[in-house]
Symmetry: C2
Subunit: 187 residues, 2 copies
DNA sequence: GGCAAATGTTTACGGTGGAAATATTGCGCG
DNA sequence: CGCGCAATATTTCCACCGTAAACATTTGCC
């Protein structure tokens, strides 16, 4: 039996995280609540407390899962033998593509006030994501500055574009590759 | 009499916006609520409905006010006769300095779900802020891409830095000027 | 087999935004 | 001047949310 159906769920912690991800996909961030997650799993709304402490703990765990997915989106299909510039472009596009594919989750992942960024699990997942960009960052100038610059640019582009800020004529055509610093010099 | 004190406030709309700004400064974004604004002004929690419709309307108006302040932060003390590169740096630093000086307000300004970005007043204020960056953007490549790139980079830096993401050694020293694309070529 | 810890439930409470009915005021118009 | 309507604000009520405390059930270990 994968799960006894009475009283003890047996797998509640991951089930709640999965429920949260589903709610984000199907109903959006503003419908994501502790009670909604619990109800979807078929459990009382106070049950999550045992595993996550409070709602912030649950949302933080969901955000960490999101970071793992973001990491995968950047590295999936990334040819390690490709030239650095190409890997850089692919990682950046993976970042933005993930944000557009999962807008609600992506927003939660950066929602200070709902998520605890000091949580070690989340911090590790975020570091792993950033490391992808760092390893392929632009080469000009201070390498630390270059990687942070790429991160800022890609992250800002993802967020602003999610907010529809570029939906006016003359901006709609812009993609990450147009935005990344050190463009291929004369496109 | 600037305001009669009975029943009709007489100046409720701007008073509620001001109250919201005060709450953001003193208590933070998570303490900002429709009821808190109303209470601070000394009015019932349903009074704002007449002027803003719902809480989103109120928060959107506060965000628009924030955009106006952001615009001012970028242009204040901006010498129009200075070389473009210098004005660009000053505007970018004004952007980030504003975010750091008013973190709660800055977050609200970009909080999809609490703010209605299709509101024309807010959209106009945002356009005005962006125009400052656009007018001083980097010169290389497509000018539209260059201005959007600057915006993304500065915005991403402001948000990520507000989240303490750069608080680890090796990143703490980084400022906007290190991050802006097209660095002065050999710092 | 029995007891302690882990896991869930029930109930209750304060906070939040919104709807509906009601009260007060301002103001235009006779 | 005063009447009546529209604007403005209040009261009351409701649904939802997160949390705490007391309680129930189950697991697992000795």
């Amino acid at each position: 039996m994968t799960a006894t159906r009475s009283y003890h769920h047996g797998n509640l912690k991951p089930a709640l995280i999965a429920a949260g991800l589903e709610i984000l996909e199907s109903e959006g961030l503003d419908r994501l609540s502790l009670r909604a997650c619990a109800e979807r799993v078929g459990v009382s709304h106070t049950a999550p407390k045992n595993h996550f402490g409070n709602v912030t703990g649950l949302l933080t765990a969901i955000a960490a899962e999101g970071q793992t997915c973001l990491h995968a989106a950047m590295t999936d299909g990334l040819n390690p033998d490709a030239p650095r510039a190409e890997r850089r472009r692919a990682a950046a596009e993976g970042y933005v593509a993930f944000a557009r594919a999962h807008p609600a989750l992506f927003e939660l992942m950066w929602a200070r006030g709902r998520v605890d960024f000091s949580d070690p699990v989340l911090a590790a997942a975020m570091s792993a994501s950033f490391a992808v960009l760092r390893d392929v960052a632009g080469a000009s100038g201070d390498p630390a500055a270059a990687s942070v610059r790429d991160w800022c640019t890609v992250h800002g582009f993802a967020l602003l574009s999610l907010q529809g800020v570029f939906d006016k004529d003359g901006m709609r055509h812009l993609g990450v590759q147009d935005i990344l610093p050190d463009p291929p010099s004369g496109a």
